[in-house]
């Protein structure tokens, strides 16, 4: 009996010694992921990295930061084509659209078609055409959306105070913002509220941050109950101007994205935690890289649970204190 046990132990030892070079080879050959970012690393990328670490999957990240300059995009895509990584990670609607194009107008000369792409922070993947319509797939594209359903956002606003008119300052040149306004307007008929749109820029002249304050004042005059920040890169960049104008006009701001509340002065919002969005995207990347699942077979998804954030300093400034029941489940940022 003892001999048998000794033999087994020796056998396992020999197998481990034989397997060591293979394991070392795997360690020495990590996956390569190209990250194309809009404004440097955020909590989303932290969640993305952390997931690989927690799963003990060796990976090398090659980061390309546009630093809010879309003109750099063709050069980055060229670099990626020359030395293709195992997977491309894209941040936001603009970058993703430039990288993969709309599902029905893909140009292999300009878009990535032969490398798996996982996108994050695309608020309206179906409306913008980044994701194929329901029932269809894109062979090399999948990703994680980060916006809570619009009806849930409206309910979140009304859990704070009654709302009949919603003022939205948005960049008319951003496809996701325009799509979001259309969806909001349609939902307004169903949920009985009016959307007061205040577009910035048009086809000829780009959006100008100096116009934001005027637009907010106009919305206040029209009787808006709240300002709304949807998925809009321009407004995200100039969020403090918007929320400041809101304070001046006695208007609180609701945001569908986390940073406007956590790092800005938006008063409240129903948001996906960026870190969790990153982890959701990482699960898809792992399915592609390790499990060899085709990206087209992995659904584009959003998180199932969202966080209700309240920036208390903004609430105090406007004397719009959160209702008591909200304190039970909202995350209060002081």
């Amino acid at each position: 009996m003892i001999r048998k046990i000794v033999r087994c132990v020796l056998l396992v030892g020999v197998l481990l010694v034989m397997a060591a070079p293979v394991l070392r080879a795997q360690e020495a050959d990590p996956f390569r992921i190209a990250l194309i970012l809009w404004r440097g690393e955020t909590e989303v990328e932290k969640g993305f990295h952390d997931y690989f670490t927690s799963q003990n999957i060796p990976v090398v990240f090659e980061t390309y930061n546009l630093d809010r300059n879309m003109d750099a995009m063709p050069g980055i895509l060229e670099t990626i084509r020359r030395d293709p990584p195992d997977l491309v990670y894209t941040w936001g609607t603009g970058i993703t659209m430039a990288a993969v194009g709309p599902h029905d107008a893909v140009d292999p000369a300009r878009h990535i078609t032969d490398i798996p792409v996982v996108f994050v922070m695309v608020s309206a993947p179906w409306q913008t055409g980044i994701a194929a319509p329901q029932g269809q797939t894109r062979p090399n594209v999948t990703g994680a959306a980060h916006i809570a359903p619009l009806s849930a956002q409206i309910n979140a606003i009304r859990a704070y105070r009654p709302m009949d008119r919603l003022g939205v300052v948005f960049n008319a040149d951003e496809a996701n913002s325009v799509a979001n306004i259309a969806d909001l307007t349609a939902l307004g008929q169903e949920m009985e509220f009016e959307v007061l749109p205040a577009p910035l820029g048009d086809g000829d002249s780009p959006a100008n941050p100096e116009d934001i304050a005027g637009k907010v004042a106009e919305l206040a005059k029209q009787g808006a109950d709240f300002l709304y920040i949807g998925p809009d890169n321009f407004i995200g960049t100039y969020r403090d101007i918007l929320t400041g104008a809101g304070f001046d006009n006695g208007l609180a701001t609701f945001s569908a994205t986390e940073l406007e509340i956590r790092d800005g002065q938006a008063m409240f919002g129903l948001v996906s935690r960026y870190e969790l969005v990153g982890r959701l995207a990482a699960t898809k990347a792992v399915q592609i890289l390790r499990d060899n699942v085709a990206p087209g077979d992995i659904p584009v998804e959003t998180l199932e649970r969202f966080s209700y954030l309240i920036r208390l300093s903004a609430a105090k400034r406007l004397e719009l204190y959160p209702p008591l029941p909200l304190l039970d489940y909202a995350e209060i940022i002081e």
Partner: protein, 649 residues
């Protein structure tokens, strides 16, 4: 066969029995209400302590939330959502009536539950008299005071919550007492006295041909034993031979009918939900429940004619024993059923047992009565059945809500087992039919089915009535009530309304139908009332409307079902003259039972497809369609002799 003397003609509320019943009801009510009230008063101190603890927990939870808001820098006067917070707490404790925050000057800053004025008034009264309609609890929050108020009537809640249960238990206790008293008095007093009267009359006439054969060991028995000795010696002297005279204890069949129906009805309110749970692993639970209930009723429909054929050979006692034994096995098996197929088997056992016991009782009545007193004998059995229809669901609902659904089935099994033991005492083994029941020929059936009006009655009144009874009352009502949040005891009480209304209204309606000779009109009115109730339940769903619909169904069936029997015989008068009433009744009963078997399965299909509320509406529209077809197709029926009506189940 022995004869039951004709009843003394009295008004509905005349006669000693009603006075006795009234006195006993009033006495029981007074004593039960008094005892309950006293018990509640004695328990008030304990309840007050419990309520105090609950109030302290609630005010602590409320205060914690307010203190947190205060710590976050939200000033108490500027708090928002106090009423919403209170509403959330009140949802968990309906006895919580109000909450308020007062400042140091006593001014109410926030109020919820009732208006600030009412709260102020309540707090003011509390300060003055120390006794208000609310029990007030408060807690200091710095310079502010948090106050909550509970309804003082909640202290009596244990009594008021169980008031309906108490009434139901009272009614059932009265019914059982009535049954037992009737049985004991009839067997020990009425029958011996009646036989003694016949023997003494015979003596007076100088015949000395009858002996008192109704054995009893009491004073009547001892007295008549001496009389028997005198008759025997006198008869010997005059060269005659005296024979013992006795009467069949027909009253026993009433108790047995009551017991076998009670065993099944006890679990009536929980059947759909219990069956849905058990069958959920095999198919959609609601469809599973409907299928199981349909198979049970189908088994009854199949077994009854078969049992009728062999009843004469087997005898009522043995048949009842077999039936009650099968029902016992079926009910105990149902209580422990683990899946669809074994549940089907147990329910089939129950159905077969139910049919067998029913036929045994029916056969016993037929064998033990003559043409003169058959209606009274049938009425005796039917009244036992109706009483069980009323008591069973109500008491079963209470049992199931306190000790579980499976126990209700076990109790049913226990009742069936009890009836096995009682059958030995209550069924007279000597009673046997002197001839086998005639088997109708195929030619007779063909001739009957060529009678257009009779076919219209069967298709658009008899079968739909039982389809709706089993589909709506037995299947949909428990499901719908369960969806409205009613508990099992409440389901039982609502189902009880059907039997109660039918019992209370049946006598008056029967008199009206007989007086007007308007059987087909009564059938039409019954159909209309059914449709009205069901459509109402479908359009205005809710507990009250459901109870009203069930009451209307009881009224409708009290109006139409006895009239269907009379109408069927009247519409087939020529046929009855030629072939007798047997085939008419057989076709009518078979159509009713097949309709009953179709009820749960069609109800389940409607519920699964449209949801329970719309299902009731569609079943109501079906009832409306049937009554319209009936009224159009039946035509004008000539007034004629009225055949005797009997009850049906």
């Amino acid at each position: 066969m022995t004869a039951i003397p004709a009843k003394r003609k009295t008004g509905f509320f005349g006669g000693t029995i009603w006075i006795l019943l009234l006195v006993s009801v009033v006495a029981l009510c007074i004593s039960l209400v008094g005892i309950s009230w006293r018990a509640a008063n004695l328990a008030e101190n304990d309840l007050r302590i419990d309520m105090g603890k609950k109030a302290q927990i609630e005010i602590h939870v409320l205060a914690t939330k307010i203190e947190r808001a205060e710590r976050l820098g939200i000033p108490i006067p500027d708090l928002v959502g106090f009423a919403d917070l209170f509403a959330g707490m009140q949802a968990g404790d309906p006895d919580l009536m109000f909450a308020a925050i007062r400042d140091s000057g006593g001014m109410i800053l926030h109020a919820a539950g009732v208006s600030k004025t009412d709260i102020a008034s309540s707090l003011e009264q509390g300060n003055d008299a120390g006794d208000t309609s609310h029990i007030v609890t408060w807690r200091q929050l710095g310079a502010y005071q948090l106050v909550i108020g509970h309804d003082r009537a909640a202290l009596m809640r244990p009594l008021t919550d169980n008031l309906f249960d108490i009434v139901v238990v009272l009614v059932v206790a009265l019914a059982l007492s009535f049954e037992l008293m009737l049985l004991v008095l009839t067997v020990n007093v009425a029958l011996p006295v009646r036989v003694a009267s016949r023997v003494l009359d015979n003596m007076r006439d100088g015949k000395f041909s009858l002996l008192h054969g109704q054995s009893s060991r009491d004073e009547i028995g001892q007295f008549m034993a001496r009389i028997n000795a005198v008759i025997t010696s006198t008869a010997r002297n005059i060269g005659a031979k005296a024979k013992p005279a006795r009467e069949v204890r027909l009253i026993g069949v009433r108790m047995l009918a009551f017991l076998f129906v009670l065993s099944e009805e006890l679990a009536r309110p929980i059947m759909p939900t219990f069956f849905a749970e058990v069958t959920a692993g095999t198919m959609d639970g609601q469809l599973g429940a409907g299928t199981v209930m349909a198979i049970h009723l189908l088994m009854i429909a199949i077994a009854m004619p078969l049992c009728s054929l062999v009843q004469g050979r087997i005898g009522s006692l043995r048949m009842y024993l077999v039936g009650a034994g099968l029902a016992t096995i079926g009910l105990f098996g149902t209580a422990f059923a683990g899946g669809f197929w074994d549940l089907v088997i147990w329910r089939a056992f129950s159905g077969f047992g139910y049919a067998t016991t029913f036929v045994a009782c029916q056969g016993y009545v037929l064998d033990a009565t003559s043409d003169k007193n058959r209606t009274q004998g049938s009425a005796m059995m039917v009244s036992g059945i109706m009483l069980a229809d009323i008591c069973g669901p109500a008491i079963g609902g209470i049992i199931a809500s306190h000790v579980g659904s499976a126990v209700a089935f076990m109790m049913g099994g226990g009742v069936a087992l009890l009836s096995v033991a009682l059958a030995f005492l209550l069924i007279d083994g000597a009673v046997r039919g002197d001839k086998a029941p005639p088997v109708p020929t195929k030619a007779a059936f063909r001739a009957l089915l060529r009678n257009r009006r009779f076919v219209v009655l069967v298709l658009f009144a008899a079968a739909p009535a039982k389809l709706i009874l089993s589909g709506f009352l037995y299947y949909m009502v428990p499901f719908a009530l369960w969806q409205t949040g009613a508990n099992i005891a409440e389901m039982g009480r609502v189902i009880m309304i059907y039997g109660l209304v039918a019992l209370l209204s049946g006598w008056f309606i029967a008199r009206w139908t007989d007086a007007k000779q308007a059987e087909t009109r009564a059938v039409g009115i019954g159909g209309g009332l059914t449709a009205l109730g069901l459509i109402g339940a479908g359009l205005v769903p809710g507990f009250g409307m459901m109870a009203l619909a069930v009451g209307l169904l009881g009224l409708a069936h009290a109006t139409s079902i006895p009239a269907q029997l009379s109408a069927s015989l009247k519409l087939s008068k020529d046929f009855v003259d030629l072939h007798g009433s047997g085939p008419v009744l057989a076709v009518l009963r078979l159509s009713e039972r097949l309709g009953g078997a179709l009820g749960p399965i069609s109800g389940a299909w409607l519920v699964v497809t449209f949801g329970v509320v719309d299902a009731m509406l569609y079943m109501g529209l079906f009832a409306l369609f049937c009554v319209i077809c009936f009224e159009i197709l039946i035509g004008k029926v000539p007034k004629d002799t009225t055949p005797q009506a009997e009850g049906t189940k």
